[in-house]
């Protein structure tokens, strides 16, 4: 073992070093098991404090946006507030509605939590710092992400609460609709990088002809940002747990740590969405060139995650919420056509790249200018043509025909 492998700059080499040492000096199976456990511990070392930090950051930042102070009582600047909240959640009574469908009700938080953690398996925190560098990384990411619907649906259906049921119906409709532009927006990046592996995609963003993909994929990034915020339930598209309408959506009936698991899963997947955005569009672990020598890649990456998280908080603090039919119309009539056009344009560009004789720098600048202009043009043109639905969902007489409330109120 070389001591330089344990230099904090390259955390990923620790694992590699341990693996090679074990395969040389210990039983064969330890070389598989020990690095895996080590990786899981590293991941948790990032995730668990991040959970607490992120909740604190969100509350403090939102408070700033709202001219308040936010939590400032427990610990310095209220830093320990999240821990206290966690303890409170743990000590709360676990209530289950009498008519709840028992095992889906109990399983839903876990089903929601597992995929949220599993997503991190493929995210590269540094050059060698991915838990599993799958060659189908992006596909895995999208596939695992689609499990969150099932969790929401289980919780909503099983808790025998009408608000939760409405939330379940919404989640199925919204997440299925937003999955499509979400995946389509990724295709542009896949075309440019020529790989599904997230490590390869990050490497492609520093190889000769490319810089960060945000320079050539602005439209895809915008679409991905919107769809990602829909998938992780952030305002203005957090219809699944729209507080003002359906109380807390699918976790209305959950208390104590069962609610806490939903909460943790939500923040975990928000962080995952931020991580994916910085991986795909903002160069992953790459940083500012002349600072890269001094600051380790994984710090760059985590910094990017937190910056994106701040952007999510910003949108949450600023915008009102869309209505469900407007949200669906937005996905189907605005995001999907634009993401399809983006694929078309990117595919043509990738074909041209192979046949061009221009210098990479010139070519990339040209592409960036063209893509930004096209993105702006498309967004403006499409938003002219696209109108949010503002009509009633049906005419009053037709709605009235469906019935009326019984004359007497049932009970007080």
């Amino acid at each position: 073992m070389d001591w330089r492998d344990f230099y904090i700059y390259h955390l990923g080499k620790v694992n590699e070093s341990v693996r090679s040492w074990l395969s040389a000096h210990a039983a064969g199976w330890t070389a598989y098991v020990v690095p895996a456990i080590l990786g899981a511990i590293l991941l948790l070392v990032f995730l668990l404090p991040s959970q607490l930090m992120v909740v604190w950051i969100e509350r403090r930042l939102i408070a700033r946006f709202q001219i308040r102070r936010g939590p400032n009582r427990v610990g310095p600047w209220g830093l320990l507030q999240s821990i206290v909240d966690a303890i409170k959640l743990l000590s709360k009574e676990a209530i289950m509605p009498r008519y709840a469908d028992k095992w889906p009700y109990l399983a839903a938080p876990v089903v929601g939590f597992i995929p949220a953690i599993l997503v991190y398996a493929v995210i590269p925190f540094g050059p060698d710092l991915a838990f599993a560098d799958l060659n189908i990384g992006l596909l895995y990411l999208v596939a695992i992400g689609s499990y969150s619907v099932i969790s929401v649906f289980m919780a909503g259906w099983a808790s025998s609460n009408k608000y939760a049921l409405i939330s379940a119906m919404r989640s199925v409709a919204v997440l299925v609709s937003y999955e499509i532009p979400n995946v389509l927006a990724l295709v542009g990046v896949i075309l440019l990088a020529g790989s599904l592996s997230l490590t390869d995609i990050v490497r492609a963003q520093s190889s000769g002809s490319f810089t960060w993909f945000i320079t050539v994929q602005p439209l895809a990034f915008l679409i991905f940002f919107i769809t990602a915020s829909a998938e992780v339930n952030r305002t203005p598209v957090d219809l699944i747990e729209a507080e003002q309408e359906i109380v807390a959506g699918h976790h209305t009936e959950y208390s104590g740590m069962k609610f806490g698991l939903f909460y943790v899963a939500e923040y975990t997947s928000i962080l995952a969405a931020c991580a994916v955005m910085s991986t795909l569009f903002f160069g992953g672990w790459h940083g500012i060139p002349w600072l890269e020598r001094y600051i380790p890649p994984w710090i760059w990456f985590i910094a990017k995650i937190y910056i994106f998280f701040a952007v999510f908080i910003w949108t949450r603090a600023t915008l009102p919420r869309l209505r469900i039919d407007q949200l669906m119309a937005f996905a189907w009539k605005f995001l999907i056509p634009l993401s399809l056009l983006n694929i078309l344009v990117t595919a043509v560009e990738v074909l041209l790249i192979d046949n061009t004789t221009l210098a990479p720098a010139v070519w990339m600048t040209l592409l960036a200018v063209v893509n930004y202009a096209l993105a702006a043009l498309l967004i403006v043109a499409w938003s002219r043509a696209f109108r949010m639905p503002r009509r009633r969902s049906a005419d009053i007489p037709e709605v009235r025909r469906l019935g009326a409330l019984p004359a007497e109120t049932p009970s007080y």
Binding site: E245, V247, R321, I396, T409
Partner: protein
């Protein structure tokens, strides 16, 4: 559409977006509201009956607790009714002070109403807290004048409780000078916001005729395009001396009601500027005894509160207490039009429309 069976959803009395303990019984088809019934009474305290056991001046604290977001105008309405019943004269300075308080209160109440409305549209509290920032200044002003922050009981039959202290005037001048800029800030944040416009324009339309037939008043009526404001139509205090406009909406949707409120804040600032400039000196204190016996008869006094026409119908039998104390509360009457506005829209719209009416349950239930 699919053949579905409508189901009943009880929204409230405990629900994050029903203002206070209001309960909506919604009949839903999927997410579309098929029928709706407002259920009130969770905050009923029997104010009308209680008032019949008390002297006229003792009734004033009840008005604080009806519309707790605009106590001043509640006091004013009742005092106007009592003065009409008993024939009490009010000094000029008291009239101006009443106007100043009523308009400050209108701004404060509209700030709260618009803020909660934006909250109901799904914003996570930021506009609301921006508006509370200014409301806080107003509450400080009221505290200077009356000593209370929410339940003022400042306006009394025949005048006001006491003259405002000296430090009130620079503070109110500064507020009046600053307020237009803050209103611009809100409009920047909200009026042009595409999501808010999509959520509110065309939503919850209350047509002109329907608004009149429902006897709606205040921003709900003016949002539907009816130019009716008691300050112009039946001027009380000294409102006929001021130059101001009555903003009206175009089609009576939720956005119009929001917009009318914002414009009314601007007009209130205009009135305040004139009232502060013109206020005469003198003694604003009441010239009547604390307990008085109005002549037998009846009177209806009303004023334009932030929510509409708040009227008190008083019947006197010559004794110290009113024989009959009837309240016409604008929130209660405006909310009767809610069903027609909500049917055919989604759950989210039902919440937004309820927010756009700006009800205060203390006044609805009394």
């Amino acid at each position: 559409m699919l053949k579905t069976e409508p189901y009943v959803l009880n929204m409230g009395p405990q629900h994050p977006s029903t203002h206070g303990v209001f309960r909506m019984e919604l009949l839903l088809d999927g997410e579309t509201v098929v029928d709706m019934r407002p259920i009130m009474g969770y905050l009923h305290r029997g104010i009308e009956k209680l008032s019949e056991e008390r002297s006229y001046t003792q009734c004033i604290p009840f008005t604080d607790r009806m519309d707790y977001l605009s106590s001043m105008t509640g006091n004013l309405s009742l005092c106007l009714a009592i003065e009409k019943l008993a024939g009490i004269e009010v000094s000029e300075r008291a009239k101006y002070l009443r106007v100043i308080m009523a308009e400050l209160q209108r701004i404060a109440s509209h700030l709260f109403g618009v803020g909660t409305f934006i909250d109901d549209c799904g914003a996570s509290g930021t506009p609301f807290l921006y508006m509370l920032r200014e409301r806080e200044k107003l509450i400080d002003l009221f505290e200077m004048a009356s000593g209370a922050r929410l339940t003022y009981s400042y306006i009394r039959p025949g005048g006001v409780m006491r003259d405002v202290p000296d430090e009130f005037w620079p503070a109110v001048r500064r507020f009046v000078a600053e307020m237009p800029r803050y209103i611009d800030e809100y409009e920047q944040l909200l009026t042009g916001n595409e999501i808010l416009r999509a959520r509110t324009i065309g939503v919850g339309i209350l047509p002109r005729e329907q608004a009149i037939n429902a006897s709606a008043s205040g921003p709900v009526l003016r949002g539907s395009g009816v130019k009716w404001d008691l300050r112009k139509a039946d001027p009380y205090c000294v409102y006929d001396r001021f130059d101001f406009d009555i903003p009206t909406g175009k089609q009576g949707d939720a956005f119009d009601r929001y917009f009318v409120r914002v414009q009314e804040m601007r007009q209130s600032v205009r009135i305040l500027e004139q009232a502060i400039r013109d206020i005469p000196s003198g003694d604003p204190l009441p010239k009547v005894a604390l307990f008085f016996h109005p002549p037998a008869g009846d009177a209806y006094g009303r004023s334009e509160t932030p929510r509409g026409e708040l009227g008190f119908y008083l019947v006197s039998d010559g004794s110290i207490a009113p024989y009959r104390f009837k309240i016409r509360s604008p929130s209660f009457i405006n909310i009767t039009a809610l069903c027609d506005m909500v049917v055919g829209w989604r759950i989210a719209d039902a919440v937004a429309i309820t927010g756009s009416i700006d009800i205060v349950m203390g006044e609805v239930d009394r």
